[in-house]
């Protein structure tokens, strides 16, 4: 109890609260500007946190990331450009609602269920972190290998369109991940003597290229969606909140649970949680035919999920120092920098620090309602800005953002190459999200596979000998084989 009081004293201070408010505004801005991601918002905040005390530093990052994930929904809904990749899963759906004149319902649902998802994620983080930690303590490279496989499988299964093209997209991502020195043998791969390539391809400029720059190219080529008929005024956001909560509470809870579970998996964060939840929502919906036409059901489940995933991603980050997603990967660096070394001992030695982080999570998600409301109201300005002014502005943000990750123009080159690649891929029906997933999970997959093979003396049986690993392996293989068997069976019958 003393620790909770101490934590409250640490958090409820004018400077800390002011920092949280500023970080919230920054997160809302970055999230709402297409091309700038929640991960980038966090990465750009790190230099500023150098000058802060530990609690406001962590508070700034927690608040900023939560706000950015939510704010990504705003341009997604109004302009069909997801502000962050976590909003990409339901951008078309939300934009379809805007076209039908239901923009405020979509944005209101995004705001309400993002905040609820975030609070739910926090509650689970507080309650379940220690017990989940015990399970994860038993994880070895075998389990991590299967976890990575499961994450990659989700990407291809969840994606729309051709499975083969989804798989090709994923394989391109995995290939990109092999570039550089970061491999078990420590030899340069696919670098061709280029020093910049030795460090590999950073996924943030790649992501900016695939998701934002390709969109700018589409606009330049006159392929941008026609804004005629798009809603330019956002009415009362709170309309229908009671009805939505009553009608879709199941979807909200399911989204929260999926979000937390996926967020807690290493390598899989809010983006994947959002895609999986959207697919699950469609699969179990009583009206799946309404999906894609501007239906709020999938949006609610997905937006709940991506904010809940943030809380989930902090579980392995705080308890073991294993990043749940790219944001917590940055956070772990800041925790070390501030002397709050993540690990089970932090719960014993510095419980007040952990409680302070929990309190900030709660504050951030409550503050999301008024701040999000203000952001959505001011987002009307976005709609009024002529797109021939907005798009070059976004491109400049993308260029500077890609530069800022490593303070090198190489990041901009990566951004441009992936922008062109993303454009060509989308033109030909290849989904782009699996590429990013391949880049992120590739190194983890390779490292854990090679480590496991060395441990088991080159025997594949090692992957099934441990109970958790065996279970995960069987589940993964079943996901791969069962649809294939069903396909052959159906073909044979017909």
């Amino acid at each position: 109890m003393d620790a909770i009081l101490l934590a409250s004293e640490m958090v409820f201070q004018p400077q800390v609260l002011l920092t949280i408010v500023m970080a919230a505004l920054f997160g809302l801005f970055v999230g709402a500007v297409p091309g700038l991601t929640a991960t980038m918002a966090t990465a750009l905040l790190v230099p500023i946190t150098f000058f802060m005390e530990p609690v406001p530093a962590i508070g700034a990052i927690v608040t900023c990331s939560a706000m950015a994930i939510f704010a990504g929904d705003i341009p997604g809904t109004l302009l069909r450009i997801p502000g962050t990749p976590a909003s990409a899963a339901y951008t078309d759906e939300a934009y379809a609602m805007t076209r039908k004149g239901q923009g405020e319902l979509a944005l209101g649902a995004n705001l309400l269920f993002s905040a609820l998802g975030g609070l739910f994620g926090t509650a689970i983080l507080i309650v379940a972190a220690p017990s989940l930690a015990e399970v994860a303590l038993r994880f070895s490279s075998f389990e991590y290998f299967w976890l990575a496989c499961l994450g990659l499988t989700c990407a291809t299964v969840v994606g729309t369109g051709s499975t083969v093209k989804g798989l090709v997209s994923l394989l391109i991502g995995l290939f990109v991940a092999t570039i550089g020195l970061n491999n078990p043998a420590g030899v340069p791969r696919f670098t061709f003597g280029n020093v910049d390539l030795l460090g590999g391809i950073d996924f943030i400029p790649a992501m900016i290229g695939l998701f934002a720059v390709s969109e700018i190219f589409r606009y330049v080529l006159g392929m941008a969606p026609d804004l005629d008929g798009a809603q330019t005024k956002v009415g009362n956001l709170f309309t229908g909140w009671g009805r939505l909560m009553k009608q879709y509470w199941r979807q909200s809870i399911r989204g929260n649970v999926i979000g937390i579970s996926i967020g807690a998996l290493p390598g899989a964060g809010a983006d994947i949680a959002s895609w999986v939840s959207y697919a699950v929502s469609k699969r179990f919906s009583r009206t799946p035919e309404k999906f894609g036409t501007g239906h709020v059901e999938g949006i609610i489940e997905s937006t709940s999920s991506n904010n809940a995933a943030l809380g989930g991603a902090w579980v392995p980050a705080l308890v073991f120092g294993i990043p749940g997603d790219s944001i917590t990967a940055i956070v772990i660096g800041v925790l070390y920098l501030k002397g709050m070394n993540p690990g089970p001992t932090i719960f014993i030695n510095n419980p007040q620090d952990i409680y302070a982080v929990f309190l900030i999570f709660i504050l951030a998600n409550i503050f999301m309602i008024p701040a999000g409301w203000a952001a959505i109201k001011s987002a009307r300005v976005l709609m009024r800005v002529p797109r021939n002014v907005l798009m070059p502005t976004i491109l400049m943000f993308c260029v500077v953002g890609s530069f800022a990750i490593n303070n090198s123009v190489f990041g901009i080159t990566v951004m441009l190459v992936f922008g062109l690649l993303g454009f060509v891929m989308e033109e030909n029906g290849f989904p782009i999200a699996p590429t990013i997933l391949g880049i992120v999970l590739g190194p983890m997959l390779e490292e854990n596979f090679v480590t496991s093979m060395i441990k088991s003396g080159g025997s594949f049986a090692g992957f099934f000998e441990r109970p958790i690993s065996g279970t995960l392996g069987v589940i993964t293989l079943a996901i791969w084989i069962v649809p294939l068997v069903l396909f052959v069976w159906r073909k044979a019958r017909s």
Partner: protein
């Protein structure tokens, strides 16, 4: 511009073969069966397999779709020029921003892009100037991103 899957598949097959051949040149870890070549080799095999599926599918629909179905922008010289200039401007930024500095490079890039997209010259110059300084203040002064000063180094703040 939609290219027939058979052509894309053939390109991917060539890419897979190139990856596979390159992977064979990677050195093995002494005493280990699994080294740096394992993953690229697997990826090469998987891309190769997918490319064969794409080629087969593309050939089946060849008569309906042909080699390439051109989108409207691919026939529009204006749009293709705009794309080429946009890409060229990013390349210009990559090559020039360090020696010339962020402020002049961003100003030139933005003005040119505004002009290409049909913004009139005076507003384009004004918006580019304001935007350059806003981005510079936000990233350089507030976020401490070391944007290059280039020729403006003597006047750096």
């Amino acid at each position: 511009m939609r290219i027939n899957d058979a052509i894309l598949g053939a390109v991917l097959l060539a890419f897979a073969i190139a990856i596979g051949l390159y992977a064979r040149t990677l050195p093995a870890i002494p005493g280990q069966e699994y080294g740096a070549a394992v993953f690229p080799t697997w990826i090469a095999f998987a891309i190769g397999a997918c490319s064969l599926v794409l080629i087969a599918g593309g050939l089946r629909h060849w008569t309906e779709t042909g080699a390439v179905s051109l989108a409207s922008w691919a026939r529009s010289g204006h749009h293709l020029r705009a794309l080429a200039i946009t890409v060229a401007l990013v390349v210009f930024y990559i090559l020039v921003s360090t020696p010339l500095g962020f402020i002049p490079t961003a100003f030139i890039t933005l003005t040119a892009l505004f002009a290409v997209l049909g913004v009139r010259l005076v507003p384009a110059l004004a918006v580019a100037a304001v935007l350059t300084m806003v981005v510079h203040y936000g990233f350089y002064s507030l976020l401490r991103v070391p944007l290059p000063w280039g020729v403006l180094t003597p006047w750096a703040w």
